[in-house]
């Protein structure tokens, strides 16, 4: 069921990149991970053509139900909310539950198993196969090699990873000039994806500045 190719979903890959591949321990502050994963969930909807992000707002392009259940829940929220919210507010709202939701989704896909809680530690999710858990990072690094043709999902993954703070992990152990290559490829991305990456970056930076991270 599980494989080195992953589930093929952007947010799943980002989750695995943001947690240790052996222990499942988060590698970033919880709020930063939440914001990054929220951006990834919205990016999945952009890639599937359901929403567009422009100038700080989210616009619904296609209301049909997506294939994935979690994406369907997120789209349902976006559609049914009576008040218009900015992209930042959606990121903040989704960030509250994104980590838990994606852990459940990965558990159903067989990539994570639930380790029971101990008296001194809450229950958490541990990768079922460390190699499969490391694979998204390796794939993201490989996508930044100079000769490789760019793929929107891979570039968006890289951009969101850097936005929430995984820059050192992704870029320093990757191919040389990876940062420049990522910036170059991000410029070629769909405007909605670029907007989401920028909004996620701004949200994480603001959280750091406002002492909430």
């Amino acid at each position: 069921m599980t494989g080195l190719g992953g589930t093929g979903r952007l947010a799943d890959d980002l989750y695995l990149m943001a947690h240790d591949d052996r222990t499942g321990r988060p590698l970033l502050a919880p709020r930063a991970i939440g914001l990054g994963l929220a951006g990834a969930l919205l990016a999945e909807l952009v890639l599937a053509g359901h929403i567009e992000a422009e100038v700080g707002d989210i616009a619904i392009a296609d209301r049909s139900a997506p294939q994935d259940a979690l994406a369907g829940v997120v789209l349902g929220l976006l559609v049914s909310e009576p008040v218009q919210h900015t992209a930042r507010e959606w990121l903040a709202f989704l960030a509250r539950t994104a980590t838990g939701d994606l852990a459940s989704r990965l558990e159903q896909a067989g990539y994570l198993t639930r380790a029971p809680g101990r008296p001194w530690r809450a229950a958490r999710w541990v990768p079922a196969d460390p190699d499969c858990a490391f694979a998204p990072l390796a794939r993201a690094q490989a996508a930044l090699r100079p000769a490789r043709p760019p793929a929107a999902q891979g570039v968006a993954l890289g951009g969101l990873a850097v936005a929430c703070g995984l820059g050192p992990r992704l870029l320093s152990c990757g191919p040389p000039q990876a940062r420049g290559r990522l910036d170059e490829l991000t410029r070629l991305l769909d405007p909605s994806l670029r907007e989401l990456i920028a909004q996620t970056q701004a949200a994480v930076d603001s959280a750091v500045l406002a002492h909430r991270v």
Partner: protein, 414 residues
């Protein structure tokens, strides 16, 4: 793979409610600001040292005067937060009103000012801890040993991105203010010569030694209020932007002004107007602690003084590296400062401020100068002066922003 995911709080229309729950209310903003203001640090550290070093007695009047000026300033400052939601506070407001170049200059001045304030606090912590240790646990170590100890702890806490927040902070601050109020009341009830003199509260004391007197007093008073300008930093995280920030700002301003003016007045009334300068030179922070006599109150106050200094040093350390982070992001400072390492911690920025602190402490230790009157007071007042300049520039920027907005022009076009 397509099993429905259970989502308890996913009712439509609940987004705003859920977001509000996460956000900060007036108490949280208030305590955040008061931590930077550090009431006991000012009343026991700055005020006696100011009396002794400047020889001026108009300090209580100065607090009242500056509070009124700041209240005016706060109107515009708080109004800006309704227009501009940006955690960069000064930088954002000045950029929007006067253009990016001015904004960058303002941010650099802010960085320098907060850095001075942060390092200066070691100069107060060192001798206080040394005196306490000598008196109570018989450990004899020079002031700089204790200062370096505090520096080391703050360096580690800064790298772990630890902030003293929440309940711990609330408890400490409430205790500090309570102690100050208690000492003040006791001091006022027992004035020198049995007569409660209001001379130090009168405006004439503001220019007692010529017009320049007010300048000196103003810097000292502004130093007391430093930290108040941080309320807009939390604007994005505040529950009701238009209400939480203004209420917290004015509440903090009012509380601080009354507490400081009353404490300074109590000190001068208790010692006698003619003797307070000499008494301050002799007793230092003891001028506040001794108001209530040598009791458990004085003892508690001394311990809280140390925690106040430490908490303020940590708060300013975190403030400085956040400014460096913001400026690194904007490429005003080297981009390395704007990068976060593991766990979203801007290590480079934190370590830079730590390095600055180390150099300054070592330099002052080597020069043998009095840490309280020099390291603490000089760097402290320099930082206070820097913040005063910033407040003035921000006030101009706020006016420029309002004028430009009203005229329909794009603000910030320099």
């Amino acid at each position: 793979m397509s099993r429905t995911h259970a989502a308890p709080s996913r009712k439509p229309g609940s987004v705003s409610r859920e977001l509000a729950r996460d956000r900060l209310g007036v108490p949280a903003v208030l305590f955040f600001v008061l931590a930077g203001v550090a009431p006991l640090t000012v009343t026991a550290g700055v005020i006696p040292t100011a009396y002794a070093t400047t020889g001026l007695t108009g300090i209580p009047a100065a607090f009242v005067a500056i509070a009124l000026i700041l209240a005016l300033f706060a109107v515009g400052d708080v109004a800006m937060t309704c227009h501009i939601l940006n955690s960069g506070a000064f930088y954002a407001f000045v950029s929007q009103g006067l253009g990016r170049a001015a904004g960058v200059a303002a941010a650099l001045v802010a960085l320098l000012a907060y850095s001075c304030l942060q390092v200066g606090l070691y100069g107060a912590f060192g001798p206080t801890a040394a005196a306490e240790a000598t008196a109570h646990i018989g450990v004899h170590a020079p002031w700089w040993a204790w200062a370096l100890g505090a520096w080391a702890v703050i360096t580690v806490l800064g790298l772990l991105r630890v902030d003293i927040t929440g309940r711990v902070l609330g408890v400490l601050l409430t205790a500090e203010v309570t102690v100050i109020v208690a000492e003040t009341i006791i001091g006022l009830v027992q004035p020198a010569g049995g007569q409660l003199s209001q001379a130090t509260l009168s405006p004439s004391d503001l220019t007692s030694a010529g017009f320049g007197t007010f300048g000196v007093l103003a810097v000292i008073a502004v130093l007391g209020f430093v930290g108040l300008e941080q309320t807009p930093v939390l604007a994005e995280e505040a529950r009701h932007r238009r209400r939480t920030i203004p209420v917290a700002t004015y509440l903090a301003l009012g509380v601080i002004a009354i507490v400081y003016a009353a404490a300074a007045w109590a000190m001068s009334a208790h010692s006698g107007d003619a003797h307070v300068v000499a008494a301050a030179a002799q007793q230092g922070p003891g001028l506040l602690f001794g108001l209530g006599g040598a009791t458990w109150l004085a003892q508690t106050a001394q311990v809280l003084f140390m925690t106040s200094l430490f908490a303020a040093a940590l708060a300013f350390h975190n403030c400085v590296w956040r400014y460096m982070f913001a400026l690194g992001r904007e490429n005003v400072l080297p981009p390395a400062l704007g990068r976060t390492g593991g766990n979203n911690i801007p290590k480079a920025a934190s370590l830079t401020q730590s390095a600055t602190g180390l150099v300054v402490i070592v330099a002052f230790a080597a020069s043998g100068q009095d840490p309280m009157a020099r390291l603490f007071f000089w760097l402290g007042t320099t930082g206070g002066f820097g913040i005063m300049v910033l407040l003035a520039v921000t006030a101009v920027a706020v006016v420029a922003f309002s004028v430009a907005t009203r005229a329909g022009r794009t603000p910030g076009a320099a």
